[in-house]
Amino acid sequence: MAVLVDKKTRVIVQGITGTQGTFHATAMLDYGTKVVAGTSPGKGGTDIKGIPVYDTVKEAKKAQDATASIIFVPAAFAADAALEAISQGLNPVVVITEHLPVKDEIRVIHVAFERGITIIGPNTPGIITPKAKQKVGIMPGHVFAPGNVGLMSRSGTLTYEIAAGMTLAGIGISTAIGLGGDPCVGLTPTEGLKLFRKDKETKAIVLVGEIGGDAEERAAAYIKEGFDLPVVAFIAGRTAPAGKRMGHAGAIISGSTGTAEAKIRALEDAGVAVAKRPSEVPQLLKKLM
């Protein structure tokens, strides 16, 4: 089981001939992911470490029966790449690229939504399902052990930090989803909770949030309505000042909205165990599971 990515996932790497594309296509292959094709307009007919390269996703999908896509193309072309993946019905479409214009994000997310396709990201490390040995992303695979906790996070390395801590504590992960660090992303925490709820393998949730927006508050409201799995959360940016963008385009306190305090309050109010430090996450999980 797990969500979004499993053993049946067959991945196209869009932008496979770039440095990032090549590096991570190889890393995904090494981890076990079924990377069945790559695309790079103008480079069709070549291959990258044995992965056949096509000019278009259309050809790649047709030839290799692909089901999902991961996008490494530069920001100015990423929206086009995502629309291309969507047009071929690939699902999910994982957009690793950062610095996409928000206008492009809105358009891509909307089109995907209309066609029932899940966009992960942009500006995400991707998704990983350790048991299936499938990652569609750039995370270090060895950090994630298989298990029953669904992990969702708005950040990358902080996720690895927490996953590593869980692994050390003997707690495994069903699927870890990098939601992406941008203000507008394809999958919100609430939508992620809905996915995990339907997954029989997932027995608890870790939600790693950060300042900016009110996605965590909305997730809390959803949890409060009767979400039936235990949830542990960590919110980064308790000490971040207002009005400053903390690395992620989405990590900014605007006026009085988006503070860590408000998020923590809402989550605790919904019965979520909120860790003060990343290392507390495994302890809280053990208490709840």
Binding site: V102, P241, G247
Partner: protein, 381 residues
Amino acid sequence: MKLYEMEAKEIFRSFNITTPAGYAAKTPEEARKRATEIGKPVAVKAQVLAGKRGKAGGIKFADTPDQAEAAARDILGMRISDLPVEAVLVEEKLDIQQEIYIGITVDRNERKYVVIGSAAGGMSIEELAVKSPEKIVKMYVDPMLGFQSYEAQEMAVAMGFPSKMVRSVAGFILGLWNVADAYDAELTEINPLILTKDGRLLAADARLNIDDSALYRHKKLIDGIKRKPAEQNERERLAAEHDMAYVELDGNIACICNGAGLTMATLDAVALHGGNASTFLDLGGGADAERVKKGIEIALMYPNVRAILVNIMGGITRCDEVAKGVVAARQERGVSIPMVIRMVGTNEKQGQEILSSAGIPFLKTMEEAAERVVQLTKEVA
């Protein structure tokens, strides 16, 4: 990228948004000249990328060119929110009957642009939301169709304007949408849109923040306004140049990490142990020794820094490269303040060896590292 009021107004005018007659001035003498040209009482307004300039004394009214010159002299010497005022906008003073708010921003949850309006303007939208939430009208923009003229009219009606004002108010709303759409606005506002006693509507203030990720689509604009995209100090400029996320804070511990979330969490950990960060510095993914060294150098340029905490979760980033960078920074720059390094992950062992042979302390968890750096800072102080 935030635009100055005067820059935003120029764009607004090109979208048929009426603004008061006005001109920028960089000297008191120029302000006098402009006031003379306008030939009416004027407002002299600080051009600065910060809110609340009114409360900070950045807006003064002048009945005569003499007064305008004096006002400009006052304002041009000011710093508002720690930013110097390098120009003023000298503008016809308006006889206010009503102040209206209209703004457009991105709604994260809907993942759509949202147009916001209120017939009770003149304060920030946050204040409006507190003081008269019932007067705020919101309309989401269809991601495919954009915002239509009729929607602007519906909005004007919903804001409570009488029939005879529907078209004119809608014209401003639609104009603002056209600005937002054409310039990838993250936020654009007319606040206040003023209805004068003689029945004219004018955009008295103008705000336009362009999505930084979309700046590549607006080279013409940026070239046209002939300045750097943002108000940055030397360190911020340098970090941006090297594509590192860099934010200065009130404390004295520079946190250099890989990943925005990890950096924020590191700041938080420092605070939990009683310390205060001076610096948020995210090296990004896959930093090599050179980049680590550069990051440390930039952090050290900020005089507040009393200690450095490097916290790396190795994935694509290799710990040996980080260690090399740290050692190089320390040796080449002769860093005298305490440094605490925490690294795990890829090539952790190799990294540890490099640090050990250079005599730099190395810790395995971020909590230990945070605790240690806070301790060291206190010892130094």
